[in-house]
């Protein structure tokens, strides 16, 4: 195993242990169960966003794009809003968690392949057009969701609102096993495709010359991105810049284009940042703010730094 991976894994392990055991009182059984489920949620979310971002950046050949910037999670929020609007509050609450999530993931995957596949299918030669289209699609999804939210009744709106703001403290216990299962399957698939992802990162002409089925691979990667984004958005809501920080860190730490190293590194870093961030919030800052706010703030600064350094590749 690579030494850098081992170090990140150790950091994650230490953070997780601290999170679970810090100040645990006499009522340790109950507290431990509560913390374990929250920890599992954070690990799933962190790893999902990290792997989704690396996959998306590889397919789009661009280091400053993330699925969130391109409107993936806005699409998920739109889907949720449409469901609440269509079924009403009771109908929405009545839906079985697992089946609902599975159906949402399937719809997301198809929609993402249709929208972004078309955009990327021709080898994304026109990066500027692709970014603009993605950003506009994101705004379109957000506006549609906003429109639906405006015309629905206030009770339903309250539900939609909790769905569309990022929060790391409302991880749904019933959804967690389903989301974790989907995330693990998608990540295993991504790891299996490592060597193909290395080739796709070379760009279309070289990849085709090397015999890669470029279009099929693009669609497969986008479907995995859709599944992973659905998982993270369903659990904590949209976090736009988190993936960017993680992929930036993973790239600079690993300093290699090999996905066999990049993907696990990113997944571990994603988990570690969330757990450490949450620790700091709960223990140091006394829950005075929201983790997502700080993640977005530092992420936004990082994004600007990338832009200013001209690392748009």
């Amino acid at each position: 195993m690579d030494r850098r991976l081992a170090v990140i894994a150790l950091v994650l392990l230490a953070a997780s242990a601290t999170y679970l055991l810090w100040g645990i009182g006499a009522n340790w059984r109950f507290v431990l169960g509560l913390r374990a489920s929250k920890l599992a949620g954070m690990l799933v979310v962190g790893a999902s966003i990290a792997v989704a971002t690396i996959l998306f950046q590889t397919v789009s050949q661009n280091r400053i794009l993330t699925p969130a910037i391109m409107g993936f999670d806005a699409l998920y929020v739109l889907l949720q809003t449409a469901l609440v609007a269509g079924l009403g509050v009771t109908g929405f609450a009545m839906l079985p968690v697992g089946a609902k999530f599975a159906a949402e993931v399937a719809v997301m995957a198809v929609a993402a392949m249709a929208l972004f596949g078309l955009l990327l299918g021709r080898g994304a030669q026109d990066i500027a057009r692709m970014i603009l289209t993605g950003v506009i699609l994101g705004i379109l999804f957000r506006s549609l969701a906003g429109f639906l939210a405006r015309v629905m009744d206030p009770n339903a709106f309250a539900i939609v609102q909790t769905e569309s703001f990022a929060s790391f403290s409302r991880i749904d216990g019933a959804l967690l096993p389903w989301a974790a299962g989907a995330a693990v399957l998608a990540m295993l698939a991504a790891f299996r495709l490592c060597s193909r992802l290395d080739v796709i990162a070379l760009g279309r002409p070289v990849a085709v010359s090397l015999g890669l089925r470029y279009e099929a691979m693009t669609f497969a990667a986008l479907a995995l991105v859709a599944v992973l984004v659905s998982v993270s958005t369903a659990l904590v809501g949209p976090v736009t810049f988190f993936g960017l920080i993680v992929s930036g860190l993973a790239h600079s730490l690993i300093a290699s284009a090999r996905h066999a190293l990049l993907l696990p590194a990113a997944a571990l870093i994603g988990g570690a940042i969330l757990v450490i961030g949450q620790l700091v919030f709960e223990r140091v800052l006394g829950m005075q703010s929201a983790l997502s706010v700080v993640v977005e703030f530092t992420g936004g600064l990082f994004f600007l730094w990338l832009l200013l350094k001209g690392r748009i590749r």
Binding site: L202, V206, S209, L210, L212, S256
Partner: protein, 251 residues
Amino acid sequence: MIRIENVSHHIGPAPILHGIDLTLPPNSVTALIGPNGAGKSTLLNLIGRLIPLQEGRISVDGNDVTATPSRQLAKVMAILGQTNHAGSRLRVRELVAFGRWPHHLGRARPEDQAAVEAALAQFDLAGLAERFLDEVSGGQRQRAFLAMCIAQDTDWLLLDEPLNNLDMAHARALMARLHGLRNAGRGIVVVVHEVNYAAAWADHVVALEGGRVVAQGTPHQVLTPEVLGQLYDMEIRVTELDGRPLILHHV
């Protein structure tokens, strides 16, 4: 043998190629020449399945380029485009190693590593192997991409202006190497702008103009003042040196 039957191509409303019928012989160096916009690169990219075939048929050693799985074609031909950049930040050795990918699909064997080292040595890249591609010069990067194609170890090599960015010494060395591969039984198709390289090294020359084949044959048959004059619309003197045409297009 590469068979091109009745191939036409448009980009938007603009016609690029008009009903090209061509057979490229195996075991030889074929040079595609012609003025800018003649359709040389388009033809090469169509053979190399980098752009989808719109009309007609192309087969490489009997493998139809639209019907044959891409991975199988990658063991038959390697194509290098005109502008090359790797999407990811790679070291020279890592790039060259990708040439072996069609053979091992991610699990490099000792013979693959040996082939990579051989390709690096052939292209004078052994000393640069650990440098990143964005830290070497344009010509060095071009050589790295060429080494990757050679490492792919295919019966056919399709190279679009491989002499781009190369200095005199490396340009001649490349042509000599291609000639050596041809002697070893490979077929090589190159797009060249400097017709003297075609004159000195090619066995077969195909002249394209306005998307049509206007002449083909041995260098002596094609590289004449008449054909070249018509092709490039200028007066050109052609003499002979060591039994090969020498084109004095620069004076």
